[in-house]
């Protein structure tokens, strides 16, 4: 499995996409921006390019000839997706620490980049994974429909959540107001987000294995 992860990272994925988290993460420096969009750039730029490369390079053909069981071909690919997602979110998190220090007096209309906000980001990634991964593994090479469905779903989610964050006093308070100073609450939201991310990704993995078993190449 480790070999397949390395195969994707060294051969399948252009190193440029490992640098992208730093460029995309730098969007966190825009003061008071809609930070939910930062991770969307990963869905919009990196995912279609990476999966387009897999398709164009006929990655599936190479993978199928290698002495690895079908089941074990799915896990490494998902691990690679998760590695990239975590890379994006961690880099953005680190950059946000600077943002908070750089602009201490900004009034946040949208979500401020505190821990609770990252919890929401993890849920967004979870939604992306549970839609994109199982749909992709219907064929293991067509990614278009899966990408559209998952991006629409994450956009709807972030739209609704952000709207609540502006319109609803309780939600606003939790993420931007007095709740932002409550470290326990913020940590709880973050951990809840991480848990949802883990559960959704594992479910996606299990569906993907079942679907990939049936694929004729």
């Amino acid at each position: 499995m480790y070999n397949l992860v390395m195969k994707d990272l060294k051969l399948g994925i252009n190193p440029w996409f490992l640098a992208m988290p730093f460029l995309i993460g730098a969007l966190m420096f825009i003061p008071g921006w809609i930070y939910l969009l930062v991770l969307q750039y990963f869905f919009w730029i990196s995912v279609p390019n990476i999966f387009g490369q897999f398709k164009a390079q006929n990655d599936l053909m190479l993978t199928m000839t290698l002495p690895v069981s079908r089941k074990d071909k799915v896990k490494p690919r998902i691990i690679v997706i998760v590695i990239l997602e975590l890379l994006h979110i961690f880099v953005a998190m680190i950059f946000s620490l600077f943002t908070i220090r750089l602009y201490p007096n900004v009034d946040y209309f949208f979500f401020a980049p505190y821990m609770g906000f990252w919890g929401i980001c993890f849920v967004m990634l979870a939604i992306f994974n549970i839609i994109f991964i199982p749909m992709y593994y219907k064929t293991a090479y067509k990614y278009g429909a899966a990408l559209i469905a998952s991006v629409v779903a994450t956009l709807l989610f972030s739209g609704v959540v952000q709207w609540l964050g502006i319109q609803n006093n309780f939600v606003f308070d939790t993420f931007n107001g007095s709740g932002a100073d409550d470290t326990t609450l913020q940590l709880f939201i973050l951990l809840a987000g991480i848990t949802i991310f883990a559960v959704f990704t594992i479910v996606a993995y299990n569906i993907a294995i079942k679907r990939f078993e049936k694929v004729d190449i």
Partner: protein
């Protein structure tokens, strides 16, 4: 073993089934005496494959691709690999796309031999090669099988390649095995008849298929149905003739 059949007869489908790339409707696959479904990983260590040429990661260098692929094989032998590169004059700094079709096959062979494959499964390795490259490749195949350690299953529709180097022939048509036996026995089991129109009427029912022209007819017949006393000119057919007349039989029933 040569694996022949017309386009669409099911050669690639068979090979894909062997490699567990597609699902079987029925039946079992046994390789080197083991059931493929149960021992897939173990068997794939012992199989070298080239399906549809080297058509993946064509923009990558040989070096990069090899470094990735070799990690998957327990018995990878770097010395053998270096030898193969030298013997086949492969430059590992070249990209796959820069290799000629013949070189791509040689690269696939190098990979297969370096992980100690006992069975090479090659899907149309000689298609698209010029006669010199084909002859060269066939010589390599013969060198490989000569000490009996390595077997090659290769599919092709270029029957002259098999005339040169196959020991066994499996002939498929429409997904069915028509014959699978030693090459000479295979050819001997058919006769190609040449005669005039009146002779055609005598044997018409027994022929697998036939063609008529202004001089008479040419037709393929099973040796068992062939009656030497009929005084029709008969020759042992080439593989190509067998392939063509079987394909024609299909057309006649459509």
């Amino acid at each position: 073993m040569g694996f022949i059949g017309a386009n669409g007869a099911g050669k690639t489908t068979t090979i894909k089934s062997i490699l567990n790339m597609i699902h079987l409707d029925r039946g079992e696959i046994h390789i080197l005496g083991k059931n493929m479904a149960e021992h897939e990983l173990e068997l794939k260590q012992d199989i070298g494959v080239a399906v549809g040429g080297m058509n993946f990661y064509t923009r990558s260098k040989i070096k990069t691709l090899t470094n990735t692929i070799k990690k998957f094989y327990k018995n990878w032998d770097e010395a053998t690999y270096r030898n193969c590169l030298r013997k086949f004059k492969l430059d590992e700094n070249k990209r796959i796309i820069e290799l000629s079709e013949g070189m791509k096959i040689k690269y696939s062979l190098s990979l297969a031999l370096s992980h100690g494959a006992k069975l090479l499964i090659l899907d149309e390795p000689t298609s698209g090669l010029d006669p010199v490259a084909r002859d060269n490749l066939l010589d390599i195949f013969q060198d490989l099988v000569v000490d009996g350690e390595i077997s090659i299953l290769f599919s092709t529709h270029i029957t002259s390649d098999l005339e040169k180097c196959a020991d066994f022939i499996t002939f498929i048509e429409n997904g069915q095995i028509i014959q699978s036996m030693e090459k000479e026995d295979f050819k001997e089991s058919y006769r190609l008849l040449n005669g005039n129109e009146s002779q055609l009427h005598q044997v018409k029912e027994k022929l697998i298929s036939y063609k008529t022209n202004s001089f008479g007819f040419t037709g393929l017949i099973h040796f068992s149905n062939y009656d030497p006393s009929a005084n029709i000119k008969a020759t042992v057919p080439t593989l190509e003739e067998i392939l063509i007349f079987f394909a024609k039989k299909e057309d006649m029933y459509v």
